[in-house]
């Protein structure tokens, strides 16, 4: 640990919520330090207490929550004992806050310059000086053409640019500490890479320390110096990123890291993902001992009785575990072997064939002067899915992947082109947010019945069939009559899958089916999807933004950018040898849960996805392309001609005039 006195020291923090149902201990005995200029990550899943910890530091815990014990000492002053009035100059001036959602963190009716100056004037700066400083801040956070854009409103900025503005506001008063609560969770990977790089740069330039709250181990490995792993309101492990990732001493950290699908994994298909059973505990009903005990494969009797205290393993590495404290090492988490996939029997024709599809998403309302111009969110896409096969569809928000998926199941109307589903084949859809996709007023049984009824299963047989479906997805008959609120996120997603299976589909369209789930649950659902595909010979169109998840589950992959497929091919080929500069950049931008990869060369794309209302001429990627006309002014072909998908020597198909020039890791 650094010799300097810590900037912030949290010791024995306990925050409780006194509700009608009893006392919820959201944060219990949490301690950590942050040195000046350091980036500390607090990692945890939903209900781990990470956000409540951040709020406790700022004295912003909502009613009925209260910090009941512990010290929060900032530069030697205990913030807990400060009266609210004395807290105000610290919040905002000494400690800046970056929120998760830049959309709601900015006031839509104020220009960004006014919002930044406001942060300065409330702490006593004059108006004119504040407006000048606002401009300087916008430049500092990398808003291009800041002088011209300062008087724009938030809606005129893209999501990534808005997050930069939020960071500018947090930095306005030269704080010594930034608290960033999931600052990149709402952003796309290429934008996330930009923001993470910005935070790193600001730390070096301004010496600001960052407390980063996140659920993403990849983000931690890329940006943090040290981390604190929280679970069920407790700190289970803390240490330097290198130590914790190399040799985790808490079984939770260990298994969580093991359960994450990797970009570079070669075992895809041969083995299932190692996974942690169960779900994170409800903070209102924590087990009496270690909160991870019910899910821990190493648990001993003591774990259920008493919360272990932190054992120090090295100067700056400690973990709370009865088992490893005794010197035991953590054995490798098993990855169950996958049964061989059956192929080549039955009808092998594609289940789904999409040919040259265009989808107009302009709402079709007639203006005063005639019909509005069409907006093609999907513009000339062709793809096929075979039985028993997964086609991964990757792209950032706004690329048209969900529009395409919804057209395939008949929610969106195509403007031209064809969607052909094999005769007799049914297509079903699994939604991203399992809590939104189940009617909260209807029991699981009623939701599943709806699917059975739709394909004409007689009422008398529906009960047995529902039980069969639930067992298939790892639930059972006891769950049938419950309402969705009684289930965890992972269980709800299982119900969503069971409902889709009720209609006996041959193809499942999976729209980000695990991205709304806790990290420790994702592997369970991915494994379930994999075994269902292999047992039922289902075809999957798997849509995701997380490239590692796609890699694990997919046989082939298609990369979409602004309405078109830019590269497609076998997974190993495309990941190992990306030929399109966008694919290469996407791969490079994905955070690796491995601190050793921290200093790899990275292609960080500049700018944002253009609007499909007004796509660039020629190649749609040319406005951000690191090998296109913004770098090589002689490459006018990119401006004039839209490249078609052409076969590359490695077997993939690429839509680029200069394929293969930019590879993974080269900038």
């Amino acid at each position: 640990m650094t010799a300097e006195a810590p900037l912030l020291r949290v010791a024995g923090l306990r925050t409780e919520f006194h509700t009608a149902e009893g006392v919820v201990r959201a944060v219990d005995d949490v301690s950590f330090d942050i040195a000046p200029g350091e980036i500390l990550g607090i990692v945890g899943e939903s209900g781990s207490g990470k956000s409540v910890t951040a709020r406790s530091i700022l004295g912003m815990v909502h009613e009925p929550g209260r910090v009941v014990a512990g010290q929060i000492s900032y530069r030697g002053r205990d913030l807990r004992t400060l009266p609210p009035k004395a807290m105000r100059p610290i919040r905002g001036r000494e400690i800046g806050l970056v929120f998760q959602d830049p959309q709601s963190a900015l006031n839509p009716v104020m220009t960004v310059r006014d919002q930044i100056s406001e942060a300065l004037t409330v702490h006593g700066m004059g108006r004119a000086a504040a407006r000048e400083r606002a401009l300087e801040l916008l430049e500092q956070v990398g808003i291009p053409d800041a002088r011209r854009r300062a008087d724009d409103y938030p809606h005129q900025f893209s999501g990534g640019m808005r997050q930069r503005v939020v960071i500018a506001i947090a930095l306005a008063n030269n704080p010594s500490l930034l608290i960033a609560d999931e600052p990149t969770t709402a952003l796309d990977v290429t934008i996330q890479a930009q923001i993470l790089r910005l935070l790193g740069r600001l730390r070096h330039e301004l010496g600001v320390a960052v407390l980063m709250i996140t659920h993403d181990m990849g983000v931690v490995a890329e940006t943090c110096d040290r981390l604190v792993v929280m679970y069920g309101g407790r700190v289970l492990e803390r240490g330097t990123v290198e130590d914790v990732f190399r040799a985790p001493k808490s079984p939770y950290t260990h298994d969580l890291l093991a359960a994450m699908p990797r970009l570079s994994s070669d075992s895809a298909g041969a083995r299932r993902l190692p996974s942690i059973p169960g779900a994170p505990p409800d903070p209102a009903h924590l087990p009496p001992g270690c909160p991870f005990e019910p899910r821990c494969r190493l648990a001993v009797d003591a774990c259920a009785e008493k919360m272990p205290s932190l054992t120090v393993f090295s100067v700056d590495h400690a973990a709370a575990c009865h088992v490893t404290a005794g010197g035991a090492s953590i054995p490798v988490l098993d990855s169950p072997p996958a049964p061989p996939r059956r192929r080549a029997e039955g009808d092998r024709r594609p289940i789904l064939e999409v040919t040259d599809l265009r989808i107009n998403v302009a709402n079709g309302r007639r203006g005063l002067w005639g019909r509005q111009d069409p907006v093609y969110a999907v513009d000339g896409v062709s793809l096929q899915v075979h039985p028993g096969e997964t086609l991964g569809l990757v792209g950032e928000s706004g690329c048209g992947k969900s529009t395409l998926a919804r057209a395939i199941v008949g929610i969106n109307e195509p403007a031209s082109g064809a969607i052909t589903v094999r005769t007799g084949g049914a297509v079903q859809y699994v939604f991203q947010d399992p809590s939104a996709s189940l009617n909260p007023r209807r029991t699981i049984r009623e939701s599943i019945d709806e699917g059975l009824e739709a394909i004409g299963v007689p009422a008398a047989e529906r009960y047995d069939e529902s039980v069969r479906l639930l067992e298939r997805v790892g639930l059972n008959a006891r769950h049938l009559e419950r309402l969705p609120y009684a289930f965890s996120g992972g269980q709800r997603q299982r119900v969503g899958i069971a409902r889709a299976l009720a209609a006996k589909p041959e193809l499942l369209v999976l729209d980000e089916p695990v991205s709304a789930l806790d990290v420790s649950i994702q592997a369970q659902i991915i494994n379930l999807l994999e075994s269902l595909r292999d047992e039922l010979d289902l075809g999957y169109l798997f849509i995701a933004h997380d490239l590692s998840v796609v890699r694990h589950l997919s046989d082939r992959i298609a990369v979409m950018y602004l309405g078109g497929i830019v590269e497609t091919g076998e997974v190993a080929t495309v990941y190992g040898d990306p030929r399109h500069p966008y694919t290469a950049a996407l791969l490079a931008s994905s955070p690796h849960p491995d601190p050793a990869a921290k200093h790899r060369e990275r292609i960080v794309l500049t700018g944002d996805l253009p609007s499909p209302k007004n796509p660039p001429s020629g190649c749609r990627f040319r406005t951000r392309c690191p090998i296109g006309p913004i770098v090589h002014s002689d490459r006018t072909i990119c401006i004039e001609q839209r490249p078609a998908l052409r076969p590359a020597p490695n077997g993939a198909h690429v839509a680029c005039h200069f394929p293969g020039e930019l590879r993974n890791g080269e900038a």
Partner: protein
């Protein structure tokens, strides 16, 4: 194991609304309304001679014999008030539910096709464009003065409110993931509306119903005041206020009697709508 517990849950929904009648507002509102209905039903007992029985005593003030006094033709104002209440209640308690059902169906018609939805919305806009009185005049012109004219005027006046509320509910609900999921499963439009959309818009519609009952009272009174109400000699609260206002300075009980009853009626519906609203929010 195979009896569906839907019935149980339906009871829970009912219970939720039953809660509305446990709050002070709900109890007072429902109690007042119930009392008024009982009084209206008991009209023949209160005035066995009917509402048109004349005496020689015209325009006498409140007395033990005539609690609200008599009118210009010597008819007992209390008896006429009770019969008038009967008219008003019979109108409101039939026209408003009819308006609710038709308006909701019109609002939900957008689920069948976008064009149909747009068409019904324009129709509702046209109805909304006519002030209540003009609407009343047109209906009286077509079918003539009387109970049915008032009935149709109230039904039409309520449509835009119910229609728009149902449409707003439809638009916000139909793009929810679970409604889309039902659509992808191939569940028919009618079933989708019944199972997934209607239960979610029942709350605002019920509150709107109670609110519109208050409005309906005043529409009836307004039409009666300009002489388009119920045909004399049959009484309605509005018509009585209209005539009574002429004698307000000399015989205040003429307006005060029917006025108070009208106020009680409006108050009971207002309290009910408040209580329902509260129950709907609490859920």
């Amino acid at each position: 194991m195979s009896t569906p517990p839907t019935a149980k849950r339906r009871n829970q929904t009912l219970l939720r609304y039953a809660r509305a009648f446990r709050s002070p507002r709900g109890i007072i509102g429902a109690g007042t309304l119930l009392a008024l209905v009982v009084v209206a039903l008991a009209a023949p007992l209160i005035g066995p001679g009917g509402y048109d029985q004349q005496t020689s005593q015209t325009l006498v003030g409140a007395s033990g014999q005539h609690l609200f006094g008599t009118d210009e033709l010597g008819r007992d104002i209390l008896v006429r008030t009770v019969y008038g209440l009967r008219t008003d209640l019979s109108l409101i308690l039939t026209a408003v539910p009819v308006s609710l059902v038709i308006g909701t169906l019109m609002g939900l018609s957008g689920a069948v096709s976008k064009a149909l939805g747009a068409l019904t919305q324009r129709l509702l806009d046209i109805i909304l464009g006519f002030p209540g009185l003009v609407l009343g005049v047109i209906i009286v012109m077509i079918i003539g003065q009387g109970w049915w004219a008032l009935f149709f005027a109230l039904v039409f006046a309520g449509l835009p409110g119910f229609g728009r509320m149902a449409r707003a509910g439809l638009l916000s609900e139909q793009d929810r993931d679970y409604v889309l999921a039902a659509r992808v499963l191939g569940v028919s439009t009618g079933r989708r509306i019944r199972r997934h959309i209607l239960p979610n818009i029942v709350d605002p519609l019920l509150v709107q119903t109670a609110i519109f009952m208050v409005v309906a009272i005043f529409i009836e009174a307004g039409l009666s005041i300009v002489g388009l109400g119920i045909e004399p000699p049959a009484p309605s609260l509005g018509a009585m206020l209209n005539v009574g206002a002429r004698y307000a300075t000399t015989h205040p009980s003429y307006v005060l009697g029917p006025g108070m009853v009208l106020l009680l009626l409006a108050l009971s519906f207002t309290l009910l709508s408040d209580a329902l609203n509260e129950a709907a929010i609490k859920r």
